[in-house]
């Protein structure tokens, strides 16, 4: 049968399998064929796990044939950012540092999805250890935006976004430390969720900045995001920062929220400055559409927004410099084994295999944490972090959700910002504050530019308001068809 892999949702796949319109093996093979045909151009994957995928597909077909219970994600083909540990499958974190590393265990959230019969089809490209906003900092290659192959897919989870956008999978996993799910989702026309900090376990995902990192998903629809998040989320004994807050049945709450009477805050700071006029127009068109649905639009101010980037680029490199200290070459990863002196071994292993952006961030963090600077940078940045958090809390006394752009521009040409780290950092201007505050945010496809490039916007919710965001996203996607568009490859 002919299937548009670009449009299939998880629930549709399940129906197709259960009604025996297609076998899981056939379906998986279709995805693999598409990867073989188009990934040489898109370059979404570092590793394609053909054997793993086909074996899992056979296992699901056997379950169907023998009437055994199926997992909630049966037949959903999943691309996973290469910073998630996957037992027995090479995990590089997009870096030469971990090239050849075969994890001895799997990350908790990935295991939850496999347990519900999701199929791993491959590990996707990322900026080295998720340090970047375009995948150009990958230690292997740059991924391309399926909407225009000369452009970046965004990052750091750009390989995952490109894979889903190109129809190589049913959904994909990413991580969002400063926008790394929402921004590539916006640039590739996808739905991306950054959950509340602590909602999803970080265990078994290479750590970037431990007080910011949020695992999450790329999906075609808010409905799929609700389904997967319901499975991923929850407390994990191996991540002390994972929340004990109970996990709602997101999927069954998709109709709970309505735009009628909803108070939507528009923070003026998110519509100023470097925002591309076309992006601004598209985002504001959606605001008008929601107003027409009965939403109440309220102008708000988050005065410390501009400081978000500064807080982020102090605290994140500090946490990175600490987290990256574990890459000593002794227990895993590549190393300079010819060195006979321990200090020389550390220096040359790290000097040789770490990529430039990794070194850059370690240097900033080490500097900011070093004697004489600690209070001026680290302690001060934590205080400003709380200031930003308080501003959001005050805003949520007046509004139900906050609507904002995701990326100041649509996807940009590969190479344009690659040599100017500060410009690349500023690409995160509308996303980082949400990570600084630890809030949830759902990025939704919101339209296209004259050049036919997707533009997204984000709905930011209060702490643990994911069910509200998924529900509003679902209502929005019932009204619009932006999420149903796919690129021609």
């Amino acid at each position: 049968m002919t299937l548009d892999l670009n449009l299939l949702t998880i629930l549709e796949i399940r129906d197709l399998l259960v009604s025996k319109q297609i076998s899981c093996l056939e379906l998986t093979q279709k995805y693999l064929d598409r990867i073989e045909k188009f990934d040489p151009q898109v370059k979404a994957f570092i590793t394609v796990t053909k054997e793993v995928a086909l074996n899992k597909a056979k296992e699901i077909d056997t379950k169907i044939a023998t009437g055994k219970p199926l997992g909630k994600l049966a037949g959903a083909v999943m691309a996973v950012k290469d910073i998630y540990l996957t037992q027995g499958v090479e995990t590089t974190a997009g870096s030469q540092v971990l090239k050849g590393f075969i994890p001895q265990y799997s990350s908790t959230v990935y295991q939850h999805l496999i347990d519900e019969d999701a199929i791993l089809i491959g590990k996707t490209n990322t900026d080295t250890f998720a340090f970047g906003a375009s995948t150009e900092n990958s230690g292997f290659f740059t991924s391309h935006n399926p909407w225009n192959l000369d452009l970046v897919p965004g990052g750091s989870s750009g390989g995952s976004a490109a894979a889903l956008s190109a129809g190589f999978c049913t959904f994909a996993l990413g991580t969002d430390t400063g926008g790394s799910i929402r921004q590539p989702a916006s640039l590739c026309g996808l739905t991306g969720i950054k959950t509340t900090y602590g909602r999803n376990s970080r265990y078994g995902i290479t750590a970037m900045a431990s007080s910011f990192d949020c695992p999450g998903t790329f999906t075609r629809t808010s409905q799929d995001a609700a389904l997967i998040t319901g499975i991923m989320a929850g407390h994990d004994q191996f991540d002390a920062t994972s929340s004990l807050e109970s996990v709602p049945d997101y999927l069954n709450l998709l109709n709970q929220s309505k735009f009628t009477g909803l108070k939507i805050g528009l923070p003026k700071e998110y519509f100023e400055g470097s925002l591309d006029p076309e992006v601004k127009k598209i985002v504001l068109n959606n605001v008008e559409a929601l107003k027409a649905q009965g939403a109440q639009i309220i102008d708000i101010s988050l005065p410390s927004t501009g400081l978000g980037i500064d807080v982020y680029y102090v605290l994140v490199p500090c946490e990175i410099s600490s987290n990256m200290a574990r890459y000593d070459g002794l227990r895993f990863g590549q190393s300079k084994r010819d060195q006979t002196n321990l200090l020389e071994y550390y220096l040359s292993t790290r000097g040789e295999f770490m990529e430039p952006e990794m070194k850059r961030r370690i240097i900033i963090g080490t500097y900011a944490l070093s004697a004489g600077y600690y209070d001026a940078y680290y302690t001060q940045a934590w205080k400003v972090r709380h200031l930003i958090q308080q501003e959001f809390s005050k805003a949520f006394e007046k509004v139900d959700v906050i609507l904002a752009p995701v990326s100041p521009t649509p996807a940009w040409p590969i190479g344009q910002k690659a040599n100017d780290p500060l410009q690349m950092y500023l690409a995160d201007v509308y996303t980082v504050c949400i990570n600084v505050a630890g809030l949830p945010s759902l990025a939704l496809p919101g339209g296209f530019t004259a050049q036919n490039l997707p533009v997204g916007f984000q709905l930011i919710g209060n702490y643990f308001a994911e069910s509200q965001l998924f529900s509003l996203g679902h209502q929005f996607q019932n009204l619009t068809d932006y999420h149903l568009k796919s690129p021609k490859l």
Partner: protein, 98 residues
């Protein structure tokens, strides 16, 4: 940090603390790229945070404790599986003079 001065970075000292061997070209490149970043993040020092009590976590969770019980963990062969090892030990360069 003195706000009136352009930030300085002693790249050799920082690289040593970070256990990174850098080439002369890398030192020059990173120093030139870091100064504008340090200048940018220097804005933080001007923010009035006198009303903020410093804490170092973002969620509501505090002091997560658990009983100190011995539980099953990664078996030795797996733990050593990705390392240069011999007879159940990690092999590291010599650290003490003979």
């Amino acid at each position: 940090m003195d706000n009136s001065q352009t930030p300085q970075i002693d790249i050799d000292h920082v690289a040593k603390l970070a256990r990174l061997k850098l080439t002369p070209e890398e030192k020059e490149l990173y120093t030139s790229q870091l100064l504008p970043i340090l200048e940018h993040i220097g804005h933080l020092s001007q923010v009035d945070v006198s009303q903020i009590v410093p804490t170092f976590q973002i969620g509501k969770t505090k002091n997560v404790l658990r009983p100190d019980e011995i539980k099953e963990s990664l078996p030795q062969d797996k733990a050593l599986g990705q390392a240069n090892s011999q007879n159940g030990y990690f092999i590291v360069p010599q650290t003490i003079d003979k």
